[in-house]
Every structure is written in C-alpha cells, then in structure tokens.
C-alpha cells in the first residue's frame, strides 16, 4: 500500500462525504468550499484515475445528460481498501499532530 498524497487525501475525503453524488465537478466544489483550495478538474480526474488504478476508488459512468454535448459524468465511490488507506493516513496525521498543535498555533501567531 502506497502513501497518500495531500490531494489524494482531500479527494478521498470528498468522495466519502459526497456519497453517491461524487463526480469530478462536485468533488472540486466540495474541496474548494471546505478547504478553500482551488484544484483543476483535470487534476481531480487524473488523480481519481490513479486512485482507481490502485483500487482505492471505483468508478461508474452515469447516463449522458441532454444539453451537455451528451457527455456523461463519472461517479466514484470509496472502496474498502481506499477507506483503510485514508484511515491510516488520517491516523498518522493525528498521531503526528498530537500535542504539537498548541505550539504550532503559538509559532504561527508570533509571525503575526
């Protein structure tokens, strides 16, 4: 099992949060709303493609919508393997953060 990058973690959290409605555009909007980070649609889709290759997410092609050049959406869902990897990553970050958050806050305030 490989490590998850920051963008991969954000995408997996978004896929989990969106449930059955997790497609590229919605994931992008969710990440922007929650984290303020703007990620391109291309980056989200290529990352999702890579996660699908590693079987961390599974994809299904939706029905083509009228009026959008007949292009379908591709919906993603977290797989058990994906959930385990995301859990491990989040646990690792929480363990690393531990009691240093307060010190982190103080250091950040010093700059201000």
């Amino acid at each position: 099992v490989g490590h998850l990058g920051e963008l991969e973690q954000l995408i997996l959290f978004a896929v989990t949060a969106l449930g059955d409605d997790a497609y590229g555009g919605a994931i992008r909007a969710h990440i922007e709303e929650r984290s303020g980070r703007i990620v391109s649609s291309g980056a989200i889709n290529t990352t999702l493609g890579r996660l699908a290759e590693r079987r961390l997410v599974s994809g299904r092609v939706g029905a083509p919508a009228p009026g959008r050049a007949g292009r379908p959406r591709k919906y993603y869902a977290l797989t058990p393997a994906g959930a385990r990897d995301l859990q491990k990553s989040y646990t690792a970050i929480r363990a690393m953060a531990g009691d240093v958050i307060e010190r982190l806050d103080r250091l950040a305030e010093q700059d201000n």
């Binding site: 590229g24 555009g25 391109s40 649609s41 291309g42 989200i44 290529t46 959008r68 292009r71």
Partner: protein, 890 residues
Amino acid sequence: LKPRRSLIARLIAAVFIRGAEAPFILRDLDDSFHHDVARGVTPAEARRRDLKNILASAGSVWAETLRLSSWRPSLIDVRLGLRGIARTPWLSLVAVCALGIGIPVGLAPMQAVDALERPLPGDPDGRIRTLCYWRDTVHEDATAGDFSLWRTSLRSFGALAAYRPTTVTLDVSQSGGAGLSVPAIETTASTFEILRTPAMLGRVIGAGDEQSGAPSVIVIGHDLWRAQFGSDRHIVGRSLLIGGAPFSIVGVMPPAFRFPTSHELWMPLRVRDDGSGPRSGAALVVFGRLADDATPDSAQAELQTLTSSLAGADVSRRSSEGAKADRLHAAVLPAWHLTFGFPSPGGLRALPEFALVQVLMLAPLFVACVNVGLLILAQISTRSSEFAVRTALGASRGRILTQVFVEFMVLAVIATGAGLLILDWMPARLLAALGITLPYWIDTGLTAATVLRGLILAAGCAVIAGVAPTVRMTGRSIVANMKRTRTSRRRNRLGGLPAALIVIDVAVAVVAIGLSGGLWAKVQATRPGESHDGIRAAEILSVTLDVPSSERQQVARAQTALIETLRGEPDVRAVTFATALPRMDHPVRLMDVDQDAAGVASAGPFKVRTARIAIDFFDALKQPVVAGRAFDSRDLTQDARTIIVNTTFAERAFGSTNVIGRRVRQATPDRASAGPWLEIVGVVGHLGVHALTPAEDDGVYLPLAEGDVNPVRLAVWVRGDPAMLAPRVHELARAVAPTAMIAMPVPLDRMFEGDWYLLRAFVVGAALLVGVLLSLAASALYAILSLVVSQRTREIGIRVALGANRWRIARDIAARAVVQIGAGVLLGLPFAGALCYEFLELRGSGSVPGAVAMASALGLSVMLLVSLAACTVPTLRALRIAPMDALRKD
C-alpha cells in the same frame, strides 16, 4: 439568459484535453462553470475561472500522460527498437535517405559560417585582430598614416603589422618557363612575428629589410618553391627577376602557410608615412596580436579614444551623388575580417539575412520529417495490435513512446552520420568545381559543433517523425486499438493526409524545377562572352582605383597619372573610367521628365539605372551615340547640367518624340523633393546597365571628371588576354601613384558582381533544393505505394487466384499514384509559370514564352519520370504476389 462559456475556452479544452478521461473532464469543466454561475459568481469572473481551470486541467492531463517515471529507457527498448527497424527495412531506408539529405542541407549555413569565421592557424583564442574603419556597412582599409600612429600609440597590442596585396610577374626564363603571375603581398616583418610562423628554409622578412635602400629580398611559398624551383634546398640566396628587377630569395615558408589567403610570395613593405597623419598615405591592411593583459573590448576602447577626433573631423571623401556622410569609426575586429568584406562588423552571424537563409535551409529537413512522420503513421497503424497487446500486458504509454523514440533515434543517428559525411565531403569538391579558392586557413571539414548540432537535429527528427505519430496512435484505448486493427484488414487506411502531402510534395518540386529552369534560362541569356550589350567584355580589364585621400586635387592627379600611363602601354587600346562599368551594379534612381511642347507631362517618376562616366567613355568603348552628341569638356563646367540617356529610357519616357533638349531630374518616390533639371544632350544604345533584364535597362549617364569620385572603375581595353595586364597595372600604379590602391583587376566578362552573381547563387541553391525536394517526393511516393501493396497483399492474392488480369491489378495500384502526381503537377505548374514570369522579371523579354514553357515542360517531365520510377518497383511487387503468399501472410 444563462451565461455561456466562451468559445475560445471550449476550443482550447477540446484541442488540449485528450485521452480516455477527456469526456468526463470536459463534462466536469462544464459542471464547474455552471456551479460558479449558480453560486452567484459574475459571468466574467466565471469565464476567467473556467479558462484557468481548462489550462490547469490540460497541464495535469499532459503531465499524467508523459509521467517521467515511464520514460526511463532500458536496453530492452533499444533491442525492441532495433528489431522494429529490421522488420521494416524499406521504410527505414526511406527515412534514412530523406533525413540524410535534409540534415546536411539544414546544417550547411552554420557550417559555412563556422568555416569562414574561424581563427587563424596558431591563434585558437582569436587574439589576432584586424584594425580597420567602418562607414555605415562599408569596410575601409587603414592607411600608412594610421598604421604609423597606431604602432606607436596603441598599448593593447603586443605587435602590429600591415600589408597590401599585389601581383608580381616572375621572370623564370632561367628555368625554362615564361613570365609567371604570382599573388603576393608587401608586408612588414612583424607579420611573421604575429603569426608565429618561422621559415622552413632560410629566414623570414626582417625589420632591416623594410628600410629604404636595403637589398631587395623576397620570401617564397612552399608550392612555388616546389613547382618552379624543383624543391631546391639551396635556393636561399638565389636571385630572381620580378618585373625586370633582381630580388634575392631569403627564405621558403612551410607548406601550410599562404597568408593572407592563397599567397605565395612576400616582399618587405616600404611605404613611407608622409607625416600627414591618420587617413592619409597608401591604403594598408592592418592587424595585430593583442597584448597579454588586453581584451578585444579594451583594445576597441583604446582605438576608439585614439581615433575619436577623426570622427568629428571626417568629411566623406565619397563625393558621388547620393553618398551619405556617415560617421567613420575605427574598429578592432576578428581576424577573419582580413579576407572577407563582410557587410557587418559582427560577421555573417549578425546579419538578419543569415537567419532567413538558415530557416530556408532547415525547411527541407522539416518537410522530410513531416513526410517520414506521415509514413510512420501509416506504417505504425499496422503495429496497433502490437501496441494494444503490450499495453494489455502492462506496458505504459511512456514505455512504448520510449521504444519508438529509440527506434527512430537510431534511424536519425544513422541519417545524421550519412549527412555529416556528405557535409564533410561535398563542400571542397563543390568549391573546386566552381573554381573558388578559399583562404588557406579555412577548413571546410566538420567541426565538433557541427556534429553536436547534427545530433540535436537527429533528436528533433526522431521526435517529429517517430514519437509524434506514435502519440497519436497510442492515444486511443486498448479496445479502440484492437477494433481498429480488426477493421484495418478490410479496408485501406491510407489516403487523406499522406496523399495530400504527396500532392504538395509534387507541386513544390514542380515549382522548384520550374523556377530553377527559368533561372537557368536567365543565366544562359546573360552569360558572359557573346552579349547583348555590344561591349567586347572579354577584351576589357576592369580595375578599381582607390586613392586614400580626401584632397580632390590629389585624387585627380593620381587618377590622371595612372590613366595616362596606361594609355601609353603598347597593348592597351583605350582607357576610360566611370562609377560603374557595363555588367556591374548600377545605382537605381527615380527620374521625373519635363512637359512636352504641348504641356503634357509623361507618367513617372521612372526607375532608371545611373552611372557617372568620363567624357570619352562611349568613344573609348566604341559605342555610337545614336542621337545628339557625346559628352565633351563643356559638360564638366560647374554650370553644365547635361545628361545622356539610353534608348530604352528615351522610348519609355518620351515615346517616339525627339528627346534632345528635353529635361529630366532626380525625384523622390513621393515627389516631395527633386534635383535640378538636366538637359538631355545625347542618346546611346544598350550598354548593359541591367545585365539580367535587357528590356528593363533604362539608363542615364552623367559626366564625370578626374577627382570627382573616389574610388573609380577603370575600363582598360587591351589586345589579347586582359588578365595578363593585371600585374602590369599594379606595377604602373606603384610607379606613378604610390599611394593608390588597385583592387579587383578582373576581365569584364568574368565580372561576377551584383545581380548576375546573385542569380548564379540562386541557381546553385535552387538546384540543391530541387534535388532535395525531388528525392523527398520520390521517396514518400515510393513508400506509400509499397505500403499500399503490402496492405493489399491478401486482396491481390485472392484476385490473382480467381483469375484476375495482373496488368489490371497493376493499373489499379498505379492509378492512385497517377492521380496524386497529376494533382500535384496541376497544382504546381501555375505557380512555376507565375514565378518565372514575375519573380524573374521576364515581362517584356523576348524569351518569356520560351522560358516559361521550358520551365513548365521541364518540371512536368522530370516529376513524371521520378514518379514513374517510384511507382515501378511497388507495382512489379504487386504483380509478383502469389495466392499462397497472400494466404500465408493472412
């Protein structure tokens, strides 16, 4: 109304976002835009965010496609690549041939500049520099006065030397030969010190030899020593007669020494500085070796400071009309300026024209790459199943691309090797065939820089011709590739783009053939010797006489003295002078004409070619004045405003009316200003003011007195071979006008100047281009037909088995090629004809229909021959296909 996404953004997205995930990404882009609009973002901001999203998405998609981790080449890739080449030998051969022609052509301009701008032997760091003057784009030699000042004042140079070229006649009758004309220089002793070349036998010229009254000595070159003196090792001390005077041979130089270009004899320079300061005295070429602590920039700064007063005091000594009083400035330049009159202190590389030539010469290579690339695309489609299987087995796209890159890199390197061999072999032979002698220190062989450039071009070719088609082919999914492979067995996939390229290839080749045919016809029409201008050019020696003085009286005295002395020579029939002689470049001016008696003005202004001529010019050249009179001494007075026109101008500007007494004046294109009116006193026939197009040789002549213009061109009409008189002209000039400089003594029929010279260069260039384009067109045609045959093997086999007529099958195959060739010829012929007609200024010339017809016929027949040859082998292969072979292949 709902805001819409911008068209440009959607186009960019459609073009740059490719691959299997593209439809979903495009849909997401659409969703994101509408999401922004729905949450209240202004339409303009939403479009800006959309465009940013598209560009970032395209970047992500391409980065994913070309992930570096996939691009590590391995030995397996090399092995697979070599196997791929062996599997398609014909295609590989075509690719090597096409690139092997295109690469040397593309490398040639830079290789030529490298060769011409090479440091002198023994000076790898370029410490030897020449010192001269520049006025606008014109290079001017220094003078004895300059040399004297610089030698004593400049600290940036360890040593300075000066020389002037001459030609001497050796009296070698003692050894059984006749008078021998040898290129020589008169030079200071420091020349040998700066070049750090000792004599092979005896000694070089010493400082004592430069003194007035010192014994007359010479140093001879190795070739002269071997050819005329039988490599006599006891030659030092022997006496030799030069122009009747005895000179003692004091040394023989080593074989590789022919300074400054291809000289074989060196004499001490004994030019006295008359003390009148800079820009006075005899013209000299000055050069030196930089001192250890000096740089070219510091030397330039020191020279600039020393000569700055000159710039202010300088008055243009070129008094001809229209000459600009440009500021004169001294320059320290690389040594290759010693030999070549480059029009820029920075050399050829600094000229914008060089960049244009480089681009033009790279064009055939680009065409070759695209041709080969399309062939590869066609051929690679037969490998789509291989790529699909490899992809299914886990090979990444990057790995397949790496393999193809390696495959074509090997091909391109082979082609580059062949091209470099051609580039190493051809220039020396070409120059020898054209009779061009380069300076002794120029080596036209390959340099490390050229080899490096060749390898870079090879990598570029491999990307364009190999990787680009593969990127296109491997862009589809495995399933799509497999489907494509299955369907390809049923129908021929060629056509479309490759066919269009063949048509364009043929058309371009026809245009090139037509153009070179027209140029050739033009060169033939203006070939020296028998000429339309009526001048007996083969008997006239053209000499440029330059007197380095700004004093009009001094210039006049020197010009008169030399002209009168030449007239006294027994073999000389006549001598005259002008600013331009027949067949040379004549400056172009615009002329207005006055109103006729009825007050009607002619259309104008008229473009005419002009020359200022001595008053005896027409008489000396035995050219009759067909109306009015020739110039005489009255026309040289200050108040005289007279002009002689030629018949072409007279007819164009005045029609059939009498032109004597009518007036013309110089004009500007907008007629905002004009010169004084000049009265026409005579009319003459054609004298070759426009060597290329006699029908457009509108010319006018203005009177010229000695001293008016400097330098002038002397026309010396001799009995016998005018080239034989050249050394004598040098000797006489030394005797009667010691400060004068004689340059370019060339028989008029060998005058390679101006338009005619350019035309010859164009013909050579066009011939090379035609060769390249023909080869490309033929190879592309051949390869496409071969592929057609190989792809239709099964079909042909079955048709033969069913009893089809073999010739009918061959006709079916050839029909495609004939259609493409025919389309190409039809497309190219009008352009070829139009180019011949317009570009070559054939309008009005009697040879127009002939030249255009000849060019067209030539283009048509050559292209048909080449195309038929390219068709023959594949068609014969098709005829030989046996049914069993076809089934076995399937």
